[in-house]
Amino acid sequence: MMKPVAFEYVRPETLAEAVTALDHDDARIIAGGQSLLPMMNFRLVQPERLVDINRITELERIERTKTGLRIGALTRHANAARDPLLAEHFPIVAEAMGHVAHVAIRNRGTVAGSLCHADPSAEWPLLVTLLDGEIEILGSDGHRSAEPSEFFLAPLVTDIEEQELVTGVHLPLPAGPSGMAFEEVAQRAGDFAVVAAGAMVRVENDTFAEVRLGLGGVFDTSVRARALEGALTGQRARAEELEAALPLAIEDLEPNDDLHASADYRLSLVPVLARRALIRALHRATQ
C-alpha cells in the first residue's frame, strides 16, 4: 500500500479561510507533507479533507516581539537554520537543524508540522521544550497558547484539536547572556535521534544563574531534566559541578525501547550527551 485513499483538497489563502476549511468532521492540515504523506500513503491516516496551508504566507515569518522571537508555523527547517534573528538569539536552532533529516526534507518540512507530528525524537519539540517556547494555536473560538508540557501528550499525540491550527511558536529571550549547545546520536546522518540533548546555561558572578537541559528520544515526549537543573542553579559555574550532577539527568520515566536502541543503550547515552551539551554551553556562556 503506497497510495492514499481519495481525499478532498482545499487550499485556503488566509487564516480565516483555513479556520473555516477546518470546520469539517475529518479534516487534516498539510504543511510540508513530510510526515503526513508517508502516513497517508501507508493508509495509516485517511483524512477526508486536506487543508493545505502553504499559501498562507503570513505563517512563514520569523519576527521580534517585545520579549522574544516568534517563529511562524510554516517556517521551513532550512530557513530556520539560516535565519539571522534565530542565529543571533538562539544559535542552537541552526545547530539542531543540521540533524533534521536531509536537505530536501529540510526544505519542505515546517516547524509547526514537526511540533504537531510530535515524534518523541524530533528536534523541534526538544528545542521548544528547552527554550520554554509557547505554542500559538488558532481555532474557531480564537487564539490560545500552550506550553510544551501541556502540548506534547504522548508519541504523535498533542493537545491540538482537529479544528485548530498552530500559527507559530514564541521563544522568550533568555534573561541574560547565555550559552547553548545541541548534541545528538542517530543511527545514520539525518535519522531521527536515538537520544538528543539540548543545553542552555547562564552564568552570573561565576555561578550558574540558570541551567536548562532538554532530552529528546529517551521518553514518550521531550523532557526537561528538572532535578539536574534545580541542583545546579546557584552552584559554581564549573565543569566539575556539571559532571557531578549528571546522574540527575535521568528522569524517573519509562525509557523508549525499540528496534534500533534498547532502553539500556538509550539511558547510557543520556549522561554522555548531557555532559557534552552542558559543557559546550558553559564554554559558550563564559566566552
Binding site: 536515538v194 536502541a261 554522555v272
Partner: protein
C-alpha cells in the same frame, strides 16, 4: 613502403572513457519499466498474506469486484492453468518446493501474493485491495532456521519430508584427524542476518499483448531477461517468437531482480486474458516483504593451525535460512552451498570439511544478492584468521601472507573443489597493506583515548565469468556459461553490438562499446550497444554473477575481431592490396603510408548499396555473431583494509578509511571498475553496520519500511581508495576477470575485523553482522557483567 608513417591506434580498452549512458540517465531521460505508458493500460495491485503460515479458509472479493473501476479480481483458482514455479536441482535428495503464482490453500510468508486485482488505476486497485477479506486459519510456525530444522517442527510444505530441503557435505583430506593433531585451533559461531538488496528502482513490470500478431511482450525490471523469457514461455506455453522479455533501463538489482517472480507471470498472463496492457510497480513495502532476500546463515567453524601460523584444517557447519520457497532458477542451495564452497578462501588449507543444510522457514524466499555466499564465507573465515593471528601474536596481515596461495602454486584446488587460476592473491594483500600506514595506526590506537581505533584486513578470492562446466548455482540444471554477441555494420556504416546481457548499473553500454570499438577500429561512441531484449538478442541469459565483462566481453572481442577481418578483406579488394596491409582506427579503414583511406559509412555504402564498385562476391555482409563460453571460470582476488573509529561513550562507529586492492585482470575502464568497487563497498557497509531484516516470533516482518531497514547513505560511506593490481592475465579473449560483486564480498569482513580490533580490549567479539552501536552496547554490557562475576 619502407618508411610508413608510424600509426598509433587509439586505445579504448583500459582508458576511463566517460559513460555513454550517463547523459541519458543523469538528465532523467532514462526509460524505466514504470515510465511505460500504453493505451488502455490497466494496473495491478496485490493482496499479500499478512500471516506467516496459515490455511486460507475463504476469500471474499464481492465488495472489491463491485468497486467502480475494478476490472478483475483473481485468486489461485483463476491461475489453475499456470503450473507452479519449481526450481529443480541435480543435487541428490534435494526437495524442490512448489510455488503457485498466487497462494493456493496455504500461505507461507507475510508478503506472499494471494489475490491479484486489476483496475483502471493503481489507486482504485489499492482501494479494492483494502476491501478484500481473506479468512485465515493460522498454522504453527518455526521462524528461526534452527528451530525449523528440528524434525518435530511444524512443516511448511506438507508434501515435503522435512523443512530441511537439502544437506550437502564437502570433504578433502582428513579434517577430523588433522584437527585433533593440530597445535592450535580457533572457533566461532558466525551469523549474517537476513538482508535484501534494495535497489533504487523497485521491481516493475508491464505486459502487452499484441492481439493481432499474437505476440506478448513483458517489459520488466529484471537482470535476467533470457531466463524470465524461457521460464514464463514454459509456464504459459509460449514460444520465444511469440513472447519477448525486454529489460529497459533498470535502476539496480544487486541480485534482487535476478530471479523469476510470480508478479512477472501474473502480468504476462493477465495481459493476454484481458487483452489490455497490465502494469505492476512494487512499492517499497512490497520490496521489503516480497523481493528476494539474502544471507540468513549461521556458520559454526573451526580453523586449525600450527605454531608458525600455517593453516592445517578448516571445518564448517552451515545452516541456511532459505525462506518459504526455493527461488527459480537458482534453487534454495544458491546461498548456503556457496558459503561452503568459498569457505576455504584464498588460502592453502589441506584438510577441509563442511556440512551445509538449507531449511525452509516462513519468510520470503532467499535469492541472489551481490556476492552470493561469499560475504558470509569470507566474514567467517577472516574472523577466524584474525583470531588465529591474535592467538599467536602474529600481525593479521602477516598471517595472511603466510597462508595465501603463492604465484607459483596456481592453479590451486581448494578443499571444496574450486580451482583458482592465477590471480594476485599476495600482490593484492601487499598493495592494500602498503596503502595504509599500519605502524602509524598501531601507534595511534595505543595513544588515543577519545576514540577506539581499529584496523581490519580481509582477503578473498572469487570465481567469476563461470562457464558451462560449472553451475552458477550449485546443482542448478541450467547452462549459463555462454553469451553471444552479434556485431553488425549496417548500410549507413553504423555499428551495433547486440547482446542478451542486461546492464542495470554495470556500464555495459560503455565497456562493451569500448571493446568493440577497439577491435573494430571505430570510436566507442560509434558503437550502439543493444541489450536486454530477447526479441533482438541471440541466446543468452543476462547480467549477474560477475559474468558480463568476461563472457559478454569475450563474445564481443571475438565477434568484433572477426568483423574487423571481414572489413579488412573488403577494403583490401577495394584498395587492391593484401588484407594484412589494411588497418582500421578512429572510424577509418586505411593502408598506412598510402592515400588508401575510406571511412565506415563509405565502405558500408560500397558493400550494401553500390552496384558496381566491388565485385559481387566481395560484398560480404558486415555482420558477425560469436559465442563465448569460458568453460570454467576465472579468479578475481582482492584485499580490503578498513579503519574504524568508535566513540567509546556513544559507540557510534564511523569508517575512516577503506582500501580495496583488486586483481580483475585487464581493466576495460578503470573508472567503471572503481565505480563498481565503490558501490559494492557501500553495500558491504550496509551488511556490516546497518542492514538487518527482522522478524518476530510469529514470523511478522518488523523492518518493513526504510525507517527500520537502514541502508547506508553517502554520509556513511567514506572515500574509498582503490588500488588496481594486474598480474598475469587470465586465459580468455579479453584477459578480463569479473569484479561487479567483489566490493560486497570483502568489505563486511574487513569492517567486522576492524570493529573487533577496536573493541578487543573489552573482551568483546564480533560474530554477527550488522554490528550496530546498540548491539555493541549489549555485548560490552554482557562482557563487563561476566568480568564482574569472575
Amino acid at each position: 613502403m619502407t618508411d610508413a608513417t608510424p600509426f598509433t591506434r587509439p586505445k579504448y580498452v583500459g582508458t576511463p572513457v566517460r559513460r555513454l549512458e550517463d547523459p541519458r540517465l543523469l538528465t532523467g531521460r532514462g526509460r524505466y519499466a514504470a515510465d511505460i505508458q500504453l493505451p488502455r493500460m490497466v494496473h495491478l495491485a496485490i493482496v499479500r498474506s499478512d500471516q506467516a503460515h496459515a490455511r486460507i479458509i475463504g476469500i471474499d472479493t464481492d465488495e472489491a469486484r463491485a468497486l467502480p473501476g475494478v476490472i478483475g479480481v483473481f485468486s489461485a483458482a483463476d491461475f489453475a492453468h499456470v503450473p507452479d514455479i519449481r526450481a529443480p536441482s541435480r543435487m541428490p535428495n534435494y526437495q524442490a518446493t512448489s510455488c503457485p503464482v498466487l497462494a493456493r490453500d496455504v500461505v507461507r510468508y507475510v508478503g506472499e501474493p494471494v489475490v491479484a486485482i486489476v483496475a483502471v488505476s493503481r489507486y482504485i486497485a489499492e482501494d479494492a485491495a483494502a476491501l478484500i477479506d481473506v479468512d485465515y486459519d493460522p498454522l504453527d510456525v518455526a521462524v528461526a532456521a534452527r528451530e525449523a530444522s528440528d524434525p518435530a517442527a511444524p512443516r511448511l510444505h506438507e508434501e515435503l519430508e522435512s523443512n530441511t530441503v537439502f544437506t550437502r557435505r564437502f570433504s578433502a583430506g582428513d579434517c577430523a584427524a588433522a584437527m585433533d593433531a593440530a597445535a592450535n585451533t580457533v572457533s566461532g559461531q558466525f551469523r549474517l542476518t537476513r538482508k535484501t538488496s534494495m535497489s533504487t528502482e523497485p521491481r516493475a513490470y508491464v505486459a502487452e499483448h499484441d492481439v493481432g500478431k499474437d505476440v506478448l511482450t513483458l517489459y520488466g525490471s529484471t537482470n535476467v531477461p533470457g531466463i524470465v523469457r524461457d521460464a514464463i514461455g514454459r509456464l504459459l506455453e509460449l514460444g520465444g517468437n511469440r513472447f519477448h522479455v525486454v529489460a529497459p533501463d533498470v535502476g539496480g538489482s544487486f541480485g534482487g531482480k535476478g530471479s523469476l517472480y510470480p508478479e512477472e507471470v501474473i502480468v504476462s498472463d493477465l495481459a493476454r486474458r484481458l487483452e489490455r496492457p497490465v502494469k505492476y510497480v512494487a512499492d517499497r513495502m512490497e520490496e521489503l516483504t516480497s523481493g528476494s532476500q539474502a544471507f540468513g546463515e549461521e556458520v559454526e567453524a573451526t580453523l586449525a593451525f600450527d605454531d608458525d601460523g600455517r593453516f592445517i584444517a578448516l571445518d564448517a557447519d552451515i545452516l541456511g535460512d532459505v525462506g518459504a520457497y526455493s527461488i527459480y532458477p537458482w534453487t534454495a542451495a544458491l546461498e548456503p552451498v556457496q558459503v561452503a564452497g568459498f569457505m576455504p578462501g584464498p588460502y592453502r588449507i589441506p584438510h577441509f570439511s563442511a556440512t551445509v543444510r538449507g531449511v525452509c522457514t516462513p519468510k520470503p524466499p532467499t535469492g541472489p544478492y551481490r556476492g552470493v555466499g561469499r560475504p558470509m564465507a569470507v566474514f567467517a573465515l577472516e574472523r577466524l584468521v584474525d583470531k588465529a593471528a591474535s592467538r599467536l601474536g602474529i600481525p593479521p596481515a602477516e598471517l595472511r601472507r603466510r597462508n595465501l596461495v603463492n604465484a607459483e602454486e596456481f592453479p590451486h584446488r581448494t578443499g571444496s573443489g574450486i580451482v583458482w587460476d592465477r590471480s594476485g592473491f599476495q600482490e593484492c594483500l601487499a598493495a592494500a597493506c602498503s596503502a595504509v600506514d599500519l605502524t602509524a595506526l598501531q601507534a595511534e590506537k595505543a595513544r588515543r583515548t577519545d576514540k577506539w581505533v581499529g584496523v581490519g584486513v580481509a582477503s578473498y578470492a572469487e570465481l567469476t565469468g563461470i562457464g558451462s562446466r560449472i553451475s552458477v548455482a550449485p546443482g542448478m540444471p541450467m547452462n549459463t556459461g555462454a553469451e553471444t554477441a552479434a556485431v553488425r555494420i549496417d548500410s549507413t556504416g553504423a555499428v551495433s553490438a547486440v547482446f542478451a546481457l542486461a546492464s542495470h548499473g554495470q556500464s555495459l553500454e560503455t565497456t562493451l562499446a569500448q571493446i568493440v570499438a577497439e577491435e573494430l577500429g571505430v570510436r566507442p561512441r560509434d558503437v550502439a550497444v543493444v541489450q536486454g531484449d530477447t526479441a533482438l538478442a541471440p541466446h543468452g541469459t543476462g547480467t549477474y554473477a560477475s559474468r558480463s565483462a568476461v563472457i559478454g566481453g569475450g563474445a564481443a572481442t571475438k565477434a568484433a575481431r572477426a568483423l574487423a577481418v571481414k572489413v579488412k578483406r573488403v577494403a583490401a579488394t577495394l584498395f587492391g592490396v593484401d588484407p594484412s596491409d589494411v588497418q582500421t582506427g578512429n572510424g577509418d579503414i586505411f593502408v598506412p603510408g598510402t592515400n588508401h583511406s575510406i571511412d565506415f559509412p563509405e565502405l558500408a555504402r560500397l558493400v550494401y548499396s553500390d552496384m558496381s564498385t566491388l565485385p559481387q562476391e566481395a560484398r560480404e555482409t558486415l555482420e558477425v555473431q560469436e559465442t563465448y563460453d569460458p568453460v570454467f571460470g576465472t579468479t578475481t582476488s582482492s584485499t580490503h583494509v578498513a579503519v574504524v573509529e568508535i566513540d567509546p561513550e556513544t559507540l557510534h562507529t564511523s569508517l575512516r578509511q577503506l582500501v580495496v586492492s583488486e586483481d580483475c585482470g585487464k581493466l576495460i575502464n578503470p573508472m567503471v571498475v572503481e565505480g563498481q568497487v565503490h558501490g559494492g563497498v557501500a553495500q558491504g557497509i550496509g551488511v556490516a553496520l546497518l542492514e538487518e531484516l527482522k522478524f518476530d516470533d510469529a514470523g511478522q516482518p518488523i523492518t518493513a519500511t526504510l525507517a527500520d531497514y537502514l541502508v547506508p547513505t553517502s554520509a556513511e560511506v567514506p572515500d574509498i581508495d582503490v588500488v588496481h593490481v594486474e598480474t598475469e592475465l587470465p586465459d580468455n579473449p579479453g584477459g578480463f576477470r569479473g569484479m561487479g560483486e567483489g566490493g560486497t564480498i570483502g568489505a563486511p569482513a574487513a569492517i567486522a575485523n576492524a570493529v573487533a580490533d577496536a573493541v578487543a580490549h573489552l573482551g568483546v567479539e564480533v560474530n554477527s553482522l550488522p554490528i550496530t552501536p546498540n548491539k555493541l552496547h549489549a555485548l560490552i554490557a554482557a562482557a563487563s557483567r561476566q568480568e564482574g562475576q569472575e
